[in-house]
């Protein structure tokens, strides 16, 4: 095991995810590999994008988590979505588009500029599917916050994270690092951190999850999924 990971190692989850969305050919892979060469680190808490301001550069997340946040005048905030490795940010057709949410790094991150649209038909397809997935997860979030009770919200949300991280190969063993505080979970799910804490305890008590030292593991993800009636998110016939 080398001390400093090779470039390919850092990029791997992103490539894994994009390849999972669409099987890439040599050309697409080459273009992608080239783009991955110019990586930019982003420290935790740095804002990648600010609500109401123009979107500067599209970004491909190589490592780390970010949160899409909406701030209210009185200090309340809603975390609308999380941005994970392999996700694309700010890819929008017409330039001069205004961000509807801020995006803030939850952990230290590494990002890069994705290949421009039109560089590869397969990559364009990846972009379209990724965008459709973003929308699907947003719909899921509305439903979660609108209809589910605290236990269901939390379970469904954690299962969604599992599903998404698995796509990037970041939860291959069924467990993953959960880098967010209970307060962030609360702002995501429309609950208070106190209630998140008690709900997590209920899930532990019932032996649904193990969460220790920021590592989350489901005791029986399939059973929990069934119990919550959660269906995997799909946006195209093949995928």
């Amino acid at each position: 095991m080398s001390l400093s990971p090779a470039p390919a190692d850092i990029a791997c989850p992103a490539i894994t995810r994009l390849s999972a969305l669409v099987a890439l050919d040599g050309r697409a892979n080459a273009i992608l590999a080239d783009a991955l060469r110019r990586r930019t680190p982003v420290p935790a808490r740095r804002e990648l994008m600010i609500e109401g301001q123009e979107i500067r550069q599209p970004q491909l997340i190589l490592r780390g988590w970010a949160a899409r946040v909406r701030h209210l005048a009185d200090g309340r905030r809603q975390i609308v979505a999380f941005v994970l490795p392999g996700d694309l940010l700010g890819l929008c057709d017409p330039p001069a588009t205004i961000a509807t949410t801020s995006v803030v790094a939850v952990t230290d991150m590494v990002v890069c500029t994705p290949p421009r649209r039109g560089a590869s038909p397969l990559l364009d397809k990846v972009y379209a599917i990724s965008k459709a997935l973003d929308e699907a997860y947003l719909v899921a979030q509305v439903t979660r916050v609108g209809q589910l009770d605290a236990y269901e919200r939390l379970g469904d949300f954690l299962l969604e994270l599992l599903e998404r991280l698995q796509l990037a190969g970041l939860a291959a063993d069924g467990g993953f690092i959960l880098p967010m505080t209970q307060e962030m979970l609360a702002d995501t799910l429309g609950l208070t951190s106190v209630h998140i804490n008690r709900t997590l305890q209920a899930m532990r008590r019932e032996n649904s999850i193990v969460l220790k030292n920021r590592v989350l593991r489901f005791t029986n993800a399939e059973a929990l999924r069934r119990g919550l009636g959660r269906l995997p998110v799909r946006v195209c016939a093949t995928g």
Copy 2:
């Protein structure tokens, strides 16, 4: 006043909205006018699209309202968004895309097939902006349901409807027809219909709104907007 409205009359709100998003040139208008010729009626309650099924045809709404609905296994349902005249539905880049929500007609509707992508650069721009708006409203919906209390949710949502209908010229006088039941409002805002009823009464008591015979009117929309801290939804610098 003629008994059966001329074609242009039916199409007017849709054209008003699309023109408000991007100033259209003669060519775009001609292409649009041509597409508007083949109109399809859709009766209330008919499904325009079914969750999990492939999206058949893109549609441009000429008249009437539809709801994007997510159904849970146990009968609960979340109305994720409303689809109004001038809105576009199912416009997605790659074919074989799967609908993430059902779409069901709330009222009798009239729809048509919009000009295909690539027919006019300006119309393509309209499509992009319309899609960006859809996303912005979805983000607003997450925030509403996640952070606001019942009164705020209802007020903010009704103001959003006003804003959107005004874009289509359907609320020029500051009032509009609200074709949905209190139960639909409840399923939209993650509340019960009983609580919606009481919240509506509170808004009437405080003289914020007048709602009678399905017609909603704000006593002072600007004041309510300020009270709720609601900002208009924007997705591009010019618009």
